[in-house]
Symmetry: C2
Subunit: 359 residues, 2 copies
């Protein structure tokens, strides 16, 4: 392998992803240095975490962090950067594992969710389901503990800590608050578009896109103006990303998305898409939505009826339009930011695939 700077500093997303994965694998598979050898049963948790985190994924948050670093003028293969970036993936594992418990989801990325997998691994317990939930709560907790450990291992300087840690704190706070808004709103069709947009902003626009991007830029020493430019690009892109997610959750191909197309409807997920439909529905449609959305026993026919209402009211079209609008705003902000062309080029590609993706 070449040690040429141009090679190791490449901005090819596939290559960046593989460097992030290498850092994650090295961290998760090494023996712990600060803790004495562990007994076998407890290691079930570490193994489950490594399996979960190292499964193939988009690595969107670490990628954006690395790109933020380059946007902020950083260069080279910085060990601190890779650790900071990879720690975002561990934090995200925490968020996903707990989210799957809260949503009572059966599958994630086409595999059983953590709580289902733990329950299945201990079938002889009389409390197998409760055990699965408890074990998954702890698995999520461990992911967060490990995310911190990896962040500590980055050994940021006081100057770096001063700019990076407040962004880390804000990002985590936004995720938890966004999730809580989601949980509050889940379970019944609601016409509260504003609340759905707020949850969208907290847990996706800020948590998923803006903060990871800013974190990398801040580590590279970006000034306030550049951090604002990061936001101007990241926030509309993040909103578009979540709106696409909401559409895929209802209209996506389960064979591609890896999750049931009826689950969001059964759980009564409170999306902008649904809120728009409730607001525009006529009386008969509104009664149908109230009855069908959030019904855990919703069947294929009921789900199809909800989809027809989402289309008849124009909610689906409006969300597509909102995505296109936010995508344009993000790209215009990217142009104004005048980043190095090789950085802009990758960000543009990521923006396009985030908005046009099918999974």
């Amino acid at each position: 392998m070449s040690t040429d700077a141009a090679t190791t500093d490449t901005l090819d997303p596939t290559d960046l992803r593989s460097r992030i994965d290498t850092a994650l694998a090295a961290f998760l598979r090494r023996g712990r240095t600060t803790v004495p050898a562990q007994r076998a049963p407890a290691d079930e948790l570490s193994t489950a975490l490594a399996d979960f985190v190292l499964a193939p994924g988009k690595r969107l948050r670490p990628l954006l962090c690395v790109l933020g670093w380059h946007a902020g003028g950083g260069t080279g293969d910085d060990e601190r950067l890779l650790r900071l970036a990879a720690s975002l993936e561990l934090f995200h594992a925490f968020a996903l594992i707990h989210d799957d418990i809260m949503d009572a989801s059966d599958t994630r990325r086409g595999r059983p969710t953590a709580h289902r997998a733990f329950a299945a691994r201990h079938p002889r317990r009389r409390d197998a389901d409760a055990f699965g939930t408890s074990a998954a709560i702890l698995l999520g907790d461990l992911a967060l503990v490990r995310a911190d450990e990896m962040l500590h291992a980055a050994r940021l300087s006081p100057r770096e800590s001063e700019v990076v840690l407040p962004l880390v704190d804000a990002m985590r706070d936004e995720l938890v608050r966004g999730q809580y808004l989601d949980v509050l709103a889940t379970g019944a069709a609601s016409g509260d578009v504003e609340r759905a947009l707020t949850a969208n902003r907290l847990k996706t626009a800020q948590y998923t896109v803006e903060r990871p991007f800013q974190l990398g830029a801040a580590l590279a020493g970006a000034d306030a103006a550049l951090l604002r430019a990061c936001s101007a690009f990241a926030l509309p892109l993040g909103e578009a990303y979540q709106l696409r997610d909401d559409l895929l959750g209802v209209f996506g191909d389960p064979g591609v998305t890896g999750k049931s197309a009826d689950e969001d409807l059964r759980s009564g997920k409170a999306t902008v898409l649904m809120a728009l439909a409730v607001r525009r529905a006529d009386r008969a449609e509104r009664e149908q939505l109230a009855r069908l959305v959030g019904d855990p026993l919703l069947d294929a026919e009921g789900a199809a009826r909800v989809r027809r209402i989402l289309e008849r009211t124009g909610a689906r079209d409006t969300v597509e339009h909102m995505i296109a609008e936010r995508y344009d705003t993000a790209l215009a902000a990217l142009d104004r930011a005048e980043l190095a062309p090789r950085v802009s080029a990758v960000l543009r590609r990521i923006a396009t695939s985030a908005v046009r993706r099918t999974a």
Copy 2:
């Protein structure tokens, strides 16, 4: 109030507790500086966290941290120390809130547990119980996020970070692993004394006593020998503390402990006490334990029968004996450590009340 150093540097536990509480309250009630104003619904979570954390408590972990600081030669009212110490209470709130979900406990300190309180606050939801669990998972998550934020606010120097953060990482890891061992073993009477002792060591001896004490000492610049002396005192004390807890969980006065005296038996908590009884039980007793322990519908008569077996087999006496033995070992280690007399005196009082307490 006097600003005399001798006053502010007092080692009176009541005074130390009140300083820790002041730091916690200031942190939890201030407006967030890094995050824009939050919408009302999400603030329900912050309010619930402040209520939970600021309710009266023993503050054992922060106290031990402050005492470790003095044992390590630290002096004065150090802001970094108070933040580090108080962050342990936030971390512990996370542990308790998630523990109560996993144990399906109804009360904590005589009040409804977080998941029950959230469910009760939203009675009109058709999924009130599931909502309560989800909200409590997020409340615990928020407590951990805030614990980190408070740790970040301590602004440790690189030298301090280097000694403190590995202990923080180890402490958190031990808690999660100890909890997992507990969850694995809960639900049925087992004679695995060794496993119960390991869980006890991880989640109480290390997480609750050794690490908080070492953290304060390390912040004050303690060398490796002093950190080992901390462990020699803290580990047996922590084991004794948990063994007392196990006895109180079954033989304690619910009016004093604030929790049902049958709950540990109903959930099938895997304690050293129970493991000893299973090992020594005759065939008839063993069958009774297998049937009664972990039965969610266990009645008062059944619980009384289990208590008689715990006494008949001598398990209760043995655990009392183990507590006394560990208490003596801890105090002998404390003498050998030759700490400043005012520090030793408080540690001795804490050790005594940890072992002789009724709640």
